[in-house]
């Protein structure tokens, strides 16, 4: 199962990002575990400065915006 974290201090966009990833995963029948990370120290340790950011299996793959559908489908493969 893929571990996906959404980094962000709880702003509306971060919530949307997490929901979108979960939605697309459900649609394409991929089992994922989407969690939200709001702790500033953890976010800092990933070296992320623009949120929302997405971490897939401990790799930062996206920062600064709500990712588009194509990108998300790419991570789920």
């Amino acid at each position: 199962m893929k571990q996906i974290q959404v980094l962000g201090s709880g702003c509306a966009k971060c919530v949307k990002t997490a929901e979108l990833i979960q939605l697309i995963a459900n649609e394409s029948d991929v089992s994922v575990n989407v969690t939200k990370e709001t702790n500033p120290e953890t976010i800092m340790n990933y070296g992320v400065m623009s949120t929302p950011a997405v971490v897939v299996d401990n790799q930062v793959v996206h920062t600064g915006s709500i990712p588009d559908r194509k990108k998300i489908e790419g991570w789920l493969k």
């Binding site: 120290e41 800092m44 340790n45 400065m49 623009s50």
Partner: protein
């Protein structure tokens, strides 16, 4: 060119809605229609154009640029970047930590964070179109001065010692940041357009309600406060009116977009410029919601220091500007 909005507002308020020209209500409604249509038109055009130009500038590149700069150039550049990079207040914590863990002094980071809410392209454009270039120039100069002076002061008192322990540790043990350096790829025109479109929708989505609230307040002031009330009561810039304006601004919370239509009305009604600036900057920058956010990386003591610092500088700004404009 912008007079088309006046004509449109006159037509809608007096001909279509049948309000009486010169009445309080008529004047307020006319002001509201003129300002909202004009502001939204300017916002759409200017946010898009500026985002096209700014597309390749991001906080990662700014961090790389500020790291290792000479301190005094650093304060100035930090404040300048704060003025030209709009970012949502929900990003201020990651940005703060990103700068701090790249070993950029807290003062330079704070120059960036203090200037950012005060000055942005939207505010500058609105000021230019509503109150003219002189007030705009003073506003920008004052906003940057507060950011720079605030940053220098915070470094003088070694504000980094008052950070939350993990942030202080990150500052002291800063190696090269473990994130990727800012991407420097050249963007194509299509990518720039996509970026500008996203920015436009994002910023409009955030500020539209402030425009309505701000213009409505401005319109109410415009129509219902008697022409000479401010002039007679506060017009000579009584010394106490400035700290009073700063205090009045604290519980009010708006961003720069919302406060500028109010500013326009206050100036037109004869409130001295310094008092107006003090009130507006206090409304924009001294807001509790954002201070509570900063608590995640700072101790209460540092937060209190920054708060008092802001209030003091806005008061000083008000006095100085009032003094200059009287002479």
């Amino acid at each position: 060119m912008l007079s088309i909005f006046t004509t449109f507002a006159d037509w809608l308020a007096y001909s279509v809605l049948g309000l009486e020209q010169g009445s309080k209500l008529g004047g307020s409604v006319q002001f509201f229609i003129e300002d909202t249509t004009k502001i939204f038109f300017l916002l759409v055009v200017m946010i898009y154009v500026i985002a096209l130009i700014r597309a390749s500038l991001n906080v990662e590149r700014i961090r790389d640029y500020l790291a290792g700069k000479n301190r005094f150039i650093g304060y100035f550049m930090g404040s300048t970047f704060g003025a030209i990079t709009p970012f949502c207040s929900c990003s201020s914590i990651p940005v703060f930590l990103g700068f701090t863990s790249a070993s950029i002094p807290v003062g330079i980071t704070m120059s960036f964070l203090l200037t950012s809410p005060l000055i942005n392209e939207v505010a500058v454009l609105l000021l230019l179109s509503l109150v003219g270039w002189k007030v705009t120039a003073i506003y920008v100069a004052v906003g940057m001065a507060v950011g720079i002076a605030g940053g220098i002061f915070l470094d003088l008192i070694h504000a980094e010692k008052l950070l939350q322990p993990f942030a202080l540790k990150a500052y002291q043990t800063a190696e090269s940041p473990n994130s990727e350096p800012g991407i420097k790829t050249k963007l194509t025109l299509i990518e720039r357009h996509e970026f500008a479109k996203t920015e436009l929708l994002d910023i409009l989505g955030r500020v539209w309600k402030w425009v309505f609230i701000g213009v409505a307040l401005g319109a109410a002031l415009h129509g219902f406060v008697p022409e000479s009330w401010f002039e007679e009561n506060l017009g000579s810039g009584q010394w106490w009116s400035v700290p009073a304006a700063v205090l009045a601004g604290i519980p009010l919370y708006s961003n720069a977009t919302g406060v500028i239509p109010v500013m326009e009305s206050l100036i037109v009604k004869g409130l001295p410029l310094g008092t107006t600036l003090a009130f507006c900057m206090s409304t924009v920058a001294a807001s509790f919601p954002e201070f509570i956010l900063l608590k995640q990386v700072m101790t209460w003591k540092l937060l209190a220091i920054i708060f008092v610092l802001l209030l003091t500088s806005f008061t000083l700004v008000g006095w100085i500007v009032n003094l200059i404009t009287v002479l």
